[in-house]
């Protein structure tokens, strides 16, 4: 199978050799999970059981101290004046 489209969706670039290997493994994995298609059951059987609730909290601004700010800034690979630096997106 051709996995180029999936790689694009997954935001991954693979080397040539790696691509051949993953292509083979990936089709094995797909065959494995396709086992689910053989199961026949009524959807009614499993619906209407789960209650879902939303949990909200106030969206409050939390002030960080200098140490915390420093720790956060240190995580950023490329930054300038406390801002993230990225490639042009437009």
């Amino acid at each position: 199978m051709d996995i180029s489209h999936i790689l694009r969706l997954a935001r991954l670039e693979l080397g040539k050799k790696e691509k051949i290997k993953i292509e083979r493994e990936f089709s094995n994995i797909l065959n494995f999970v396709k086992k689910l298609q053989e199961l026949n059951f009524k959807e009614k059987e499993v619906y209407g059981d789960v209650k879902k609730i939303n949990i909200f909290r106030e969206d409050e601004v939390v002030e960080l101290n200098q140490e915390e700010k420093k720790l956060l800034e240190n995580c950023i690979p490329e930054s300038k004046d406390g801002y993230l630096k990225i490639k042009k997106i437009l």
């Binding site: 969706l9 991954l12 670039e13 693979l14 990936f26 619906y47």
Partner: protein, 476 residues
């Protein structure tokens, strides 16, 4: 040493937290070279924490039960100011800017952190061979894997490099390594322990839990880390049901699929023998089948991979982690795919791909939606079972620990080693793995599963089995 033993010694001033911490650091330095359970050892910080704990122990007449107790932490849980790699190259230099809630709670209790332990990259794997920093070896047999993904934590407890450890469990990552190393591992009810500060794999399945030497120790750690946290909306305040049944009043189910021909012959016989031995000690013991479990593994792989592909989208090389030089990239898309392609490992890539595929237009209904439906069916089947029984017994893993390299080139074979643990995560239930049988010095774990919030019932029964070892002679 166990938590309870050390606590007694600390209380009676037979030993100080500083002394025991130094002992452990010395032992790790000498003996971890051959096991490689650690990714980072806190040589100086641990000493400071131990000194602080000794002060509290001196001044406070009723300190927290974990005060001064040295532990280790799986490297996907954040400790402020320390590196957290999640076993991945992409986070090799990432320094955690805050404490995970479980760490905050343990710090308040006065726990001493000895360091961070090895794991499969982003907790994806069953052998710790997927770590970007090399595999961990099983202390019982250095040619074998310790299980995974919390393999470093389980190996460190087994090798006595610490008193207890924290791990995380998405599809068996606490229980399976506990089984392989011959220690106790608890996967708590989903949401009972906050996930804030745990590097996410599949958010609807992930849970943090203890790896310990005894059941009582697992209970102490669980009680210290559980409870509602505003930073994790799925967390809740845990209330233990009152009136825990006595052993003789328990209705026990043994999973039929857990004694099938796919299970190691010796393990299968041990479980059937346990059934005989328990016959007169519990109210009811019966073999039951859950046919939908045969679909649990593929269901799990679709749901877990879908959530993982979404969660791991954050590793884009921009806000944290490693990245390729932006100079070698034409545009931002190119920057993403190169960064992720270079710094993520093969199993992580496979799972991100499976997730992206399962969620993509044209395949969503056939894969993701269908998997969610089957998950609901599995939840219902467990509910039905627990309306008739108190607890379910089954193997933690179908086999004893396998050899390094044995399954690493065959992803499907590796996935199959989690066949008995993933259904529990899909149903959000609590389960414990305890050392149960032994053959040729290789341990087998027994898994005890209960309905949601039944941790205390599980602890009681697990303690009974471990204390009654003389009743059950399984090749030891």
């Amino acid at each position: 040493m166990t938590i309870i033993e050390l606590r007694e010694k600390l209380k009676n001033r037979e030993i100080s937290s500083l002394e025991i911490t130094k002992n452990y650091l010395e032992k790790i330095k000498k003996e971890d070279k051959k096991i490689h359970s650690f990714l980072d050892v806190y040589k100086e910080d641990a000493i400071e924490m131990a000194k602080r704990a000794d002060k509290i122990l001196e001044q406070n007449s009723s300190p927290h039960p974990l005060c001064g107790i040295p532990c280790v932490v799986k490297d996907n849980i954040l400790i402020k100011g320390h590196i957290a790699t999640a076993g991945s190259k992409i986070l090799e230099n990432y320094i955690a800017p805050y404490d995970a809630t479980v760490i905050k709670r343990l710090k308040e209790a006065g726990v001493v952190f000895l360091g961070k332990t090895n794991l499969d990259e982003f907790a994806m794997g069953s052998s710790t061979e997927n770590s970007a920093f090399g595999p961990t070896r099983n202390p019982n047999d250095l040619n074998r894997v310790p299980g995974g993904s919390s393999g470093g934590s389980a190996a460190a407890v087994r090798a006595d490099f610490c008193v207890f450890a924290l791990g995380s469990d998405t599809g068996g990552s606490i229980r399976q390594p506990a089984s392989f190393c011959g220690v106790v591992g608890l996967k708590p009810t989903y949401g009972s322990v906050s996930r804030y500060g745990l590097i996410a794999m599949a958010s609807s399945l992930d849970v943090i839990g203890p790896i310990t030497k005894t059941v009582d120790d697992a209970k102490i750690v669980f009680e210290a880390i559980r409870g509602r946290d505003p930073m994790d909306s799925t967390s809740f305040d845990f209330v233990s049901p009152k009136n825990i049944k006595k052993i003789k009043d328990l209705k026990i189910a043994i999973l039929k699929e857990g004694t099938s021909e796919d299970v190691d012959q010796f393990l299968k016989e041990s479980i059937l023998k346990l059934k005989e031995d328990l016959k007169d000690r519990v109210l009811i013991i019966d073999i039951v089948s859950i046919p939908s479990l045969k679909y649990a593994l593929p269901t799990y792989y679709i749901i877990m991979a879908s959530e993982a592909s979404t969660n791991l989208a954050r590793f884009d090389g921009i806000r944290y982690g490693k990245s390729v030089s932006s100079k070698e990239c034409l545009d931002i898309f190119n920057f993403y795919i190169k960064t992720r392609g270079r710094f993520l490992g093969p199993e992580v890539k496979r799972r991100i791909m499976l997730g992206a595929y399962s969620l993509s237009a044209g395949y969503y209904d056939e894969f993701y939606s269908r998997a969610c439906l089957i998950q609901k069916k599995i939840i219902l089947d467990f509910k039905r079972l627990f309306s008739k029984f108190d607890l379910l017994l089954l193997p933690t893993s179908p086999s004893p620990p396998f050899k390094l390299g044995e399954k690493v080139d065959d992803p499907i074979q590796m996935y199959l080693s989690d066949i008995f643990t993933v259904p529990v995560n899909l149903a959000q239930l609590p389960a414990i793995s305890i050392p149960f049988a032994k053959k040729d010095d290789l341990p087998f774990g027994l898994q005890i599963v209960g309905p949601k919030y039944s941790e205390d019932k599980i602890f009681n029964f697990a303690r009974f089995i471990m204390n009654s070892k003389h009743l059950f002679e399984f090749g030891e």
